[in-house]
Symmetry: C2
Subunit: 225 residues, 2 copies
Amino acid sequence: MATNQDDVKLLGAVGSAFVCRVQIALKLKGIQYKFLEENMANKSDLLLKYNPVYKKIPVFVHNDKPVSESLVILEYIDETWKQNPILPSDPYRRALARFWSKFIDDKIIATSIKAVHTVDDEKEREKNVEESSEALQILENELKDKFFGGENIGFVDIAAVYIAFWIPLIQDITGLQLFNAEKCPNLYKWSHEFLNHPIVKENMPPRDPIFAYFKAHYESLFVSK
Amino acid sequence: MATNQDDVKLLGAVGSAFVCRVQIALKLKGIQYKFLEENMANKSDLLLKYNPVYKKIPVFVHNDKPVSESLVILEYIDETWKQNPILPSDPYRRALARFWSKFIDDKIIATSIKAVHTVDDEKEREKNVEESSEALQILENELKDKFFGGENIGFVDIAAVYIAFWIPLIQDITGLQLFNAEKCPNLYKWSHEFLNHPIVKENMPPRDPIFAYFKAHYESLFVSK
């Protein structure tokens, strides 16, 4: 139950798409929170205490009770603070939102991250690029309105922030072709609308340092071979 | 919205842990449904129509509206038919149930299936067995009551049906050691309580033909090398 004395914390790091999901949801709900920046190379005791299973960010902490896994956190936030719903109210539309968000995690994010990291196996890399592109194409065909949530942004839009911001970044750094205006005109248009949404816009990380960080990480993959 | 004239179908196959989850949930809710047995070697047009993305079972169809992904289906059933709740009502306990169910999918089921299939890479197989065993150990420490749901079975218990029925089967067929009474006394006790729960008991597939089916599948992995 949310009260006026809520203690709300988010353990995260600028540059994580999963953390960004939670930040957008909190902003949408108008929830004040304390952002605790984690250094993933030197994890804090608080992170190890609150997420002993995965030791990963984001961890959302509400009155000392931790919740991990970004989609689980989004559901928790939506159930705890009822204003500006993130999920639709109809059970069937809720099921579809959960289905597509899981699809984004499993078929778009996981495969594109694999594609980036398989620098020493061209065939495997191509397979992952292809899988990721095909998944983006499937999602493209699901977008019927301005947003996945209709006229307003919702669960799937927030889950898809990785597509709007991180995939173009990955493409610029790696040269991999996953997504463009020609292949996915709906998604491409959506990504611009989404990133320009006032709530989203003020929660996106600054592009230049994130670009530099991921570029350095990508280059390190070759050096370590 | 559920009505008296509901048309409820489940596309599935006897022997699938994911289908079994949905069957237990439907039985728990007292929902009558038509079971449509799929032959996964020759998928029906209905399956391809209702789950064009994954072409997998289970697919739950309520008044001609399909829902895929077993955990998404469980949530849909719980939101549509309110009797005998599967998820707790408290948002924090709901978040924990979702977290642990995802953990079971990602860290126990996925790794144990990988372990079974990496018959030509002993090192990789051992790694997967270890990961799966460690995850079972973590889950073991989370079990504080008779069931994960407390005195009654709930979301995590249903998600964990794979551990109660399929893991012992896999161990008997492959000789892999993932789970036993010594390593995981709580989970072991739970698995017996769970399989003897009247609702669960009448929904479990018959062991012998399932054993024979998985054994044949396992042996084929060696033949094809």
